[in-house]
């Protein structure tokens, strides 16, 4: 009944889809990003290669005895040394994951889900909007966008967080700027002693405002990831500026359990998020997104 799996799973288990089998990964580095957010760098314990992925795809990360959580891969697709997962300590499972020491072992299944449509862009400008930890599923997209940027093209990153000290990937922001991306930051609020000199407000405030981001909106595609309310108001602002709903892309977050479109947990209206998302076109989700408790 029981056959050994793990590193030898693909050879031992002929009938079981490999994405259903937890694969042990070793934590080779940990980066304390901000406050309660940590990035794990992991590699397969079996010495095999990292599975290829596309930006926004998700891994099911398992902590022994605690269970699994869906986390997007936040390293660049070109990074073959490790996969990075940026995790907020939000509950027992995420807590156990971020508490895994360097050298410790977690499990990963995946990658799962629909990525950002980077291969299908037909606009000159890519606007990437992140809110809070929503920047994590965008990170690989930004890396790839600046890699593939055409001379006349623009990659614009708008990134908001609650406070200046909660903006993650600070080193990346400068690097992306140096490589040609335009980066605008905004925070909800600042402490009295903060040296923040940037704008204070919410992300949609920056879209089309005089001090904010001004683009050829008719030639813009937007990738948006953050809290539902932030994505909702970003869409309204962008549509008002002239970006059609079919050029605005969101990520959805629901209680993903199996990652295989089998367990039914991550449904949102017509979507099974692990199969049809996490990235979906905003006009396809708009009517469902604004309904409470759906």
């Amino acid at each position: 009944m029981i056959a050994p799996a793990g590193s030898t799973a693909s050879t031992m288990s002929s009938t079981i889809d490999p994405l259903l089998i937890p694969r042990p990964y070793r934590v080779v580095d940990k980066v304390a990003e901000v406050a309660d957010i940590t990035s794990l760098h992991v590699v397969p314990v079996d010495g095999g290669s990292l599975p290829p992925f596309r930006p926004a795809q998700v891994g099911m990360l398992g902590a022994f005895g605690f269970g699994e959580a869906a986390i997007s891969i936040s390293s660049a697709v070109t990074c073959t040394d490790y996969h990075a997962y940026t995790i907020r300590r939000a509950g027992p499972i995420s807590g156990a994951l971020v508490d895994t020491p360097i050298g410790g072992v977690i499990t990963v299944r995946g990658p799962f889900g629909q990525p950002w449509p980077l291969d299908d862009l037909d606009t000159g400008t890519l606007l990437i909007i992140g809110g809070g930890l929503g920047i994590a599923p965008l990170r690989a997209a930004i890396e790839e966008a600046v890699d593939r940027m055409r001379p006349e093209g623009r990659v614009v990153v708008v990134y908001g967080a609650k406070r200046p000290d909660l903006l993650v990937y600070g080193a990346d922001l400068d690097r992306w700027r140096k490589r040609g991306a335009e980066v605008a930051l905004i925070v909800d609020g600042v402490d009295d002693d903060s040296d923040w000199s940037g704008p204070v407000g919410v992300v949609p405030d920056l879209l089309g405002s005089p001090q904010g981001v001004n683009l050829d909106w008719s030639d813009t595609t937007a990738f948006v990831c953050g809290p539902d309310v932030m994505m909702h108001f970003s869409r309204l602002a962008l549509e008002k500026l002239g970006v059609p709903g079919d050029r605005i892309w969101f990520t959805l977050e629901r209680n993903m359990q199996c990652g295989n479109a089998l367990c039914g947990h991550c449904q949102l209206g017509p979507f099974i998020v692990c199969r049809d998302g996490p990235v979906v076109r905003s006009d396809r989700i708009a009517r469902f997104h604004s309904i409470r408790d759906l």
Partner: protein, 271 residues
């Protein structure tokens, strides 16, 4: 801290104490009933105080205390406060400890009358007017329901504590377990009144498997809709008194069940 107290490997195991208040002992006996797992339990924790099972009476403090029974006397109330002080983690086990138990039927009644009826020498009896759950008196870290508790859930609770994670105890209805066990629904198929649809699972749908309606041993499920079930009981032909009595049992003092029974006794079952 540079103390040089030698520590044996034995003393590095977490210590467990088991305490009894007003109760029948059934829940603490569940620990002894864990059979296959009992040796594992002893392997991972030191049973420091468990008069029901062991002569060892190691003084506190304790890492984990399991508390059975409800608070019915003034000395109980004092004792539980001291146990709380001695315990890093305090877990209450069973309907008495988590909801006051069957003895909470006395709550709101004339206790001196009961004492007079039951005891030959009521003057020797010193008791509170109420039987109340432990959480009414001290902070409780986790409540494990059941009358009695389920061995599997107890092991899960202990394992979860040892692993530093929350215990996975479903809060859904008895019906979920009943259907997984392929029991026919006795309310639908036989018209037998059953508290299963408002009661938390954990028993494995034991009574319905033997054709008996659920007595609510594991207390109210998450968000129980007692009002709807009460109306249906009425349609099945049950009278107000019968329905109120169904709710006033082992977990009758648990708020949703108490409120359901109070409402019936005050307003009838409604339409």
């Amino acid at each position: 801290m540079m103390t040089s107290t030698p520590q044996s490997t034995e003393t590095t195991k977490p210590t467990l104490a088991v305490w009894k208040f007003a109760s029948c002992d059934g829940c603490q006996l569940t620990l002894l009933d864990c059979e296959d797992h009992l040796l594992d339990v002893i392997g991972r924790i030191d049973i420091a105080y468990f008069p029901e099972a062991s002569s060892a009476m190691v003084a506190g403090p304790y890492d984990v205390s399991l508390v059975e029974g409800s608070i019915t006397t003034l000395s109980d109330a004092e004792r539980i406060a001291e146990i709380r002080r001695q315990s890093k983690v305090l877990i209450t086990i069973g309907a008495c400890a988590t909801a006051g138990g069957i003895q909470a039927l006395r709550n709101g009644r004339d206790i001196s009358e009961f004492v007079g009826i039951v005891y030959a020498h009521p003057e020797f009896i010193s008791t509170l007017d109420t039987s109340t759950p432990i959480a009414d008196h001290v902070e409780v870290d986790f409540e494990l329901r059941g009358c009695p508790i389920d061995p599997g859930q107890l092991i899960e609770t202990i394992a979860a504590h040892l692993a530093g994670r929350p215990a996975r105890i479903p809060t859904t209805s008895v019906c979920v377990e009943c259907k997984a066990r392929a029991n026919p629904c006795i309310m639908v198929a036989a018209g037998t009144p059953c508290l299963g649809p408002v009661t938390m699972g954990g028993c494995g749908a034991l009574c319905p498997a033997y054709g008996r309606g659920c007595y609510g041993c594991f207390g109210p499920m998450e968000q129980p809709n007692t009002a709807s079930l009460v109306r249906w009981f009425g349609q099945l032909g049950l009278g107000d008194r019968e329905i109120a009595r169904a709710f006033r049992s082992f977990n009758g003092w648990a708020e949703p069940f108490r409120a359901a029974a109070d409402s019936i006794e005050t307003n009838g079952i409604g339409s």
